[in-house]
Amino acid sequence: MWYRRRVHRLASTPALSALAGHVLATSVLGCGFAASAALVGCAGERAVMVEISGTAGADRLCLIASDGARVVFSRAYGDELVGAPADGTLTFVAGSDVDSAVIVTALALRAGAVIGSATGTGSFGERGTTTLPLVVSRCRRRTLSSAALVARAVVAIEAVGPGARLAAGDVDGDGRDEALILGVGGTLVTVDVERARAVANAATGAGGRIAGVGDLDGDCSLDPVVVAADGVRVLHTAGDAVIVDPAVNGTAGTVDAALGAASGGPRIAVCGPAGVSLVVPRGATGAITLGTDPAQSVVVADLTGDRRAEVIAAGPGGVFVWIALDAGFVRADDALPPSFATVTTLLVVLDADGDGTPDLAGAGVDALHLALNRGDGLLEDRSGAGVTFAGAVVMVALDLDGDCRDELAVLGSDGVLALYTANGALVARAETFAGVADVAAGDFDGDGARELVVLESDGQLSVVRP
């Protein structure tokens, strides 16, 4: 064909051949770099990688992410933690709504009770991945500009009326605890302390005292446990809704309850005139009776450091201890010092000396006592005769001054709230607050350290912090 011959002639011309080569090379390079530019021009991901550590001792880890207004991710990790370090990472990729920051809370739980937490805000950079370390711990050190405690009015709660009880817990997963006020008629008011406003108001059917807040159904949403007249009830929170469980069978007459005990699964320790037992949340059967001596206060703590929680109860006969072993619970009252024989009304778990092992404080008819854990489950009272205090009705332990050594807040029947440092011995602080109806501790500003909230008899809610 004539055109084949012409093409062949043109191609065999050196100048034209070189030109064709240049055109081809330029085209190839141009196409390549155009493709590169197009790909590079695609929007890169912006992400926050959360690095979780410090969860040793937990049997479950909950990760909850929110944008400050709603929970956007919630997941429990259980089996992954068995026999392995609980630490790990999780990457959050920015979306179209959540595009500036994500608030992530890590809760370390054991038998449903929160034993440590960490909250942080991860900001998305302009591109690439930023990291957000979350070190789960029981307390967070902080430096204070002033050691003096100041009470700041938050909001007046009129809906609940006199006799309301107070507790704290992060029931909405925003990384900050809320104050929970349960009225005599069963109205549960949730207060965002930091923003000074009531955020939820739910009818629960019956009043009572919120004995603890934990995750008993494994959904990473914290559920208040109420000691009511007809028994122990679990209020399951899910978003704005509150689902009230019927009272656990056989718990009528209960005067106190505590979370964190386990025997074939999470159990609630309850006590009353009939003694001390472990009951199954949402279960009608399977109660384990630990003792039949009457008790007024019960707490749960891993005194021996073996990741199994002991049960300690106080009643007219003094304090009883049940050590948790593989084979079950074994009573071992000699774990406590003799001075605790006079502790008959109140118990609270605290870390008084900051060594990381749980210590105990207790109240009798007219005195407060402190027992420090040696680290192996044996507790010693180094304070002597204790501190005179008549009519203690509520005891709360928290670290107010940021040194990871708990202080003790004790509310008397006269409505006066007194504060004690507890490093080795109980020493009264100068501050007292009068007219207090109830008191609770929580991390209301999300900084990892806890503050006190007090409910006054006229319904005024105030926060106390340095």
Binding site: G21, L24, A25, V28, L29, G32, F33, A35, S36, A38, L39, V40, G44, E45, R46, A47, M49, V50, E51, I52, S53, A56, G57, L63, A65, D67, V72, R75, Y77, E80, D87, G88, T89, L90, T91, F92, V93, A94, G95, D97, V98, V102, R127, G128, T129, T131, P133, V135, T304, G305, D306, R307, L325, D326, D355, G356, T357, R374, G375, D376
Partner: protein
Amino acid sequence: MSCAARAKFGLIAASCALVVVVCASSTVHAQRQPRARVVAEEASDQLSEGRRRYGDLDFAGAVEALRRALAVSGTSEALRLEAYEYLGASYLVLEQRSDARAAFLEMLAIDPYHALREPTGSPKIATFVARLRAEVAPDAALDPDVRIACELPRAGRVGSALRVIVRTAGGAAVASVRVRVRGQTDETWETIEAEPDGARFVATIPARAASDLLELYAEARDERGRLLARAGAPSAPLSIEIRATVGAPRATALYERWWFWTAVGVVVVGASIGVGLAATSGERAPPGTLAPGRVELP
């Protein structure tokens, strides 16, 4: 005997000798292997028993089991380290402080910077060991809040240097990081100072001349040079396999070959697209270790 017959005899004798040597070595190997396995299993079983009894607060029983584990000869350093740790802790709970001291000193002799792993986290034990450690390793300032993690490539290539990225967080300020590395046949650890690179440290491990299995661990130190934390340990090091490269034939006068320019074109296009893809995929956030790895927010 003729020369050919002698040669044939010699060949047969040599063959027989070879067969005997092979059989003998096989027999020795066959005898040694089960013995080594039995030793490891026996010691490991006793250590497990010690751990179990320790967990059940049967400290006297734990001591017995751990002493049996340590009585087995030929056990690994890692096993002896853990056994001495539990043994010291058990003695301490039993208030036998001199025995506890001896056991913990044995532990520290194996690894003076060993971070305690016994499960109770008892401050009494931690304090006791910290005092002993101060005697044997004055430059130890272990801070449980300091977290250190190494990012290692899955494998390295012979003739190529390796980059090890070390990230630290929490606790006391980390002033320097050292990576200590050794090959399979090395007895001593080579120390490589990691260079600070923003919030991380980067250590460059020199190229290896042959395939190897590198063992390494990283040490974080404060400004006074005291050791704060480690990633890996001499008895439980991290590892990277160094793989041999595949050799490529050298070409001469390539520019004279027609396919050279075709290859150049393909390479340019491929490289360009590769660069583009790499740049884009580099923007893809890495997944975490916890499920689901990545969470795409709304």
